[in-house]
């Protein structure tokens, strides 16, 4: 893994990215010029006080939100060149998402939730099933495949979200405060699991967080303050 980072295969490059919101005529500068490169295999946390622009930044690099100026490159390709349903397909094929809570479609079982992205990709049923079962085993929820999300604990739900994010082998997994709704023990278990998947499968993770536990496990910690990078620390 260390090697991969040393090789520096850039997955995301942002160049002077700015995002300004208009809120009742008042301009809010959520991101004020961020230059950043995230490389394959990273396990990186973006930290900073509330309102510092973490969520906005994650939304920008996944194309969930537009930018006001600057450039975002994903695998060398400018995000601005991807339009309409191509952008949906792009996220489906290249980015995995884990949100703070309520990640799952409540009327679908665990298996169906994890399967969903592969279904969108048009992968045949047999292979979908095989891969769902493998990934559910990885996150330790094989026996829960037929359950509905409401019948799972918060931690288990987040694990399903991790499984869904990883199942189609995306280039990057974005996790916006994935532990914020969990107690510290459950959160810590979830993080250990993600760390292990990162090391075992080389999956790239980018977190936004207030959580000390994530910061302590992350290999790189980027601190945002008022929409600009205040610190970028690579740990040994």
């Amino acid at each position: 893994m260390e090697k991969k980072i040393e090789k520096q295969v850039p997955i995301i490059v942002t160049e002077n990215v700015k995002k300004t919101y208009e809120d009742n005529g008042v301009e809010v500068q959520a991101v004020r010029g961020v230059d950043l490169t995230i490389s394959a295999g990273e396990f990186t946390a973006i930290v900073g006080p509330s309102g510092s622009g973490k969520t906005t930044f994650l939304n920008i690099i996944s194309g969930l939100d537009t930018i006001t100026s600057g450039r975002v490159l994903l695998n060398g390709k400018p995000l601005s060149e991807i339009k309409g349903s191509e952008l949906s397909d792009f996220r489906r094929d290249h980015i995995g998402f884990i949100f703070q809570a309520y990640n799952l479609i409540p009327v679908l079982t665990v298996e169906e939730n994890v399967e969903y992205i592969m279904l969108l990709q048009g992968i045949p049923k047999a292979e979908r099933h095989k891969r769902v079962m493998e990934i559910l085993a990885d996150v330790g929820l094989r026996e829960y495949a037929q359950r509905l999300p409401a019948k799972l604990s918060g931690g288990q739900q987040q694990r399903v979200a991790v499984a869904r994010a990883m199942v189609s082998n995306p280039d990057l997994i974005l996790a916006d405060e994935p532990t914020a709704n969990l107690d510290s023990k459950t959160g810590s278990e979830l993080l250990d699991m993600m760390k292990e998947l990162n090391e075992k499968k080389g999956m790239t993770f980018l977190f936004s967080t207030h959580d000390e536990m994530i910061m302590s496990r992350a290999r790189r910690v980027i601190t945002l303050k008022d929409g600009i990078i205040a610190a970028d620390v690579l740990k040994k």
């Binding site: 969520t55 906005t56 939304n59 996944s62 969930l64 939100d65 309409g84 349903s85 949906s88 397909d89 996220r91 489906r92 094929d93 995995g96 998402f97 949100f99 703070q100 809570a101 309520y102 990640n103 479609i105 409540p106 009327v107 679908l108 969903y116 992205i117 279904l119 969108l120 869904r164 994010a165």
Partner: protein, 408 residues
């Protein structure tokens, strides 16, 4: 696609109460449409029945252009063969022979023009309601060849009652000579239709033929079918068959064009009702869909984030509307069927009420028609999904980042 159908179906059962209330509302709309259509069909049957059964018959055969000219010389051609065929015809239950000629009827008090109708009392009973609407006297009960049955209005004008004598004058065929005969009023009927009560005088066929000098010939054969709908089928071979020998066979739809127009109006009012109910249904659905849409913005944002295209979300919403429609259709069709069956059995009493120029004489029985259970439900399904395009479009335009932020 299958997956979205599954998802849509499960989604509409998330809020069971709302789904049930909405589908009951739509279902009631559909049921009332089905029931109204059944009622209208029953009403139409009733109207046709009463229009054709009083005197007209469901079809008539005349000779050549008798209908236009009313020329007493123009009798039905090849009468023996035609009646032999009618006797055998599987579509026909009854027919009767008539002569028709304009004449003058004079009483000691007054003189009136009337259509003198020669009838065979035996078979006439199956084709007209004259015998059933008698006020006084009888309908050719004895064997007196000089019996005459007239309407109440005509009796009033002539100031006659049963037993009184009148003199009828007609002009004979061919020669145009006047023929005069004395008759005795044997019965007075009252239809409740002014033209019928003031303008007709019935005598025995034999006597009429003799007066007119037309031998055994007649002017009109009035026909009753086994199924009243037969008259409304212009394509069947029946009409051609009895229009041979320079005769003319026509259904009541042609004899009574104004009645046919009334039926067209009934269709239009059904359409208007369908449109009004359709609007109610449509707004019910839009309301329900938007409520469930706004509740699930976060969920839709997640679906969009992980790679669902806007079109996928739109498809889901339209399918949810479709699923809602399917439930409503099941409810509505069942309710409509129950209502129709109940009232088809018991009948609805509109007797004595006049509608579009005819008076209902019998109970109205709503008619079960399988097409009502095809056309209206398919319409509901189609329009529901059509209407769902609007909320679907709104869902497709969802701003993901905003929706994700708002709901947390």
């Amino acid at each position: 696609m299958w997956f979205y159908i599954k998802l849509a179906w499960r989604n509409i059962f998330r809020n069971k109460r709302r789904t049930i209330i909405t589908s009951i509302a739509i279902g009631i709309g559909l049921a009332s449409l089905i029931f109204t259509a059944a009622l209208m069909e029953g009403m139409i049957n009733n109207m046709i029945q009463s229009a054709t059964s009083s005197f007209l018959g469901q079809a008539q055969v005349h000779g050549g252009d008798f209908r236009e000219t009313q020329d007493v010389e123009k009798t039905v051609n090849n009468l023996d063969q035609v009646t032999a065929e009618l006797k055998q015809d599987p579509l026909v239950t009854n027919y009767t022979l008539r002569t028709l000629s304009m004449g003058m009827i004079a009483s000691p008090a007054n003189m009136n023009a009337a259509l003198l109708v020669g009838v065979e009392p035996g078979s006439e009973r199956f084709l007209s309601k004259i015998a059933d609407t008698l006020q006084k006297g009888s309908f050719f009960d004895g064997a007196n060849p000089r019996d005459m049955v007239i309407g109440s209005k005509l009796a009033e004008d002539l100031e006659v009652s049963p037993g009184d004598r009148v003199v009828a004058t007609v002009s004979q065929a061919k020669t145009g000579d006047l023929a005069q005969e004395m008759f005795r009023i044997s019965g007075i009927y009252q239809f409740g239709i002014k033209e019928m009560d003031s303008g007709l005088a019935f005598i025995r066929l034999k006597k009429a033929q003799q007066m007119l000098g037309i031998g055994d010939r007649v002017h009109q054969i009035a026909i009753k079918f086994k199924d009243i709908k037969t008259a409304d089928m212009p394509g069947i071979s029946f009409w051609k068959k009895y229009s041979r020998f320079d005769n003319e066979a026509v259904p009541w739809t042609i004899l009574l064009p104004q009645m046919k127009a009334v039926l067209g109006m009934v269709d239009i009012s059904l359409l208007i009702m369908a449109v009004i109910l359709g609007c109610v249904v449509v707004f019910g659905i839009i309301n329900s869909l938007f409520m469930s849409l706004y509740e699930r913005m976060f969920e839709f944002a997640i679906m969009r984030a992980v790679g669902t295209r806007p079109a996928g979300l739109r498809k889901l919403i339209v399918l949810e509307a479709g699923a809602l429609a399917v439930i409503s259709i099941i409810l509505g069709s069942a309710l409509g069927m129950i209502l129709t069956l109940i009232f088809a059995h018991s009948g609805i009493d509109y007797r004595g009420i006049e509608f579009a120029g005819t008076t209902f004489h019998e109970l109205i029985h709503p008619v079960m028609n399988k097409w009502h259970y095809v056309v209206f439900p398919v319409g509901v399904l189609f329009f529901t999904m059509l209407v769902a395009i609007y909320p679907a479009w709104v869902a497709g335009r969802l701003r993901i980042a905003t929706a994700l932020r708002k709901s947390l």
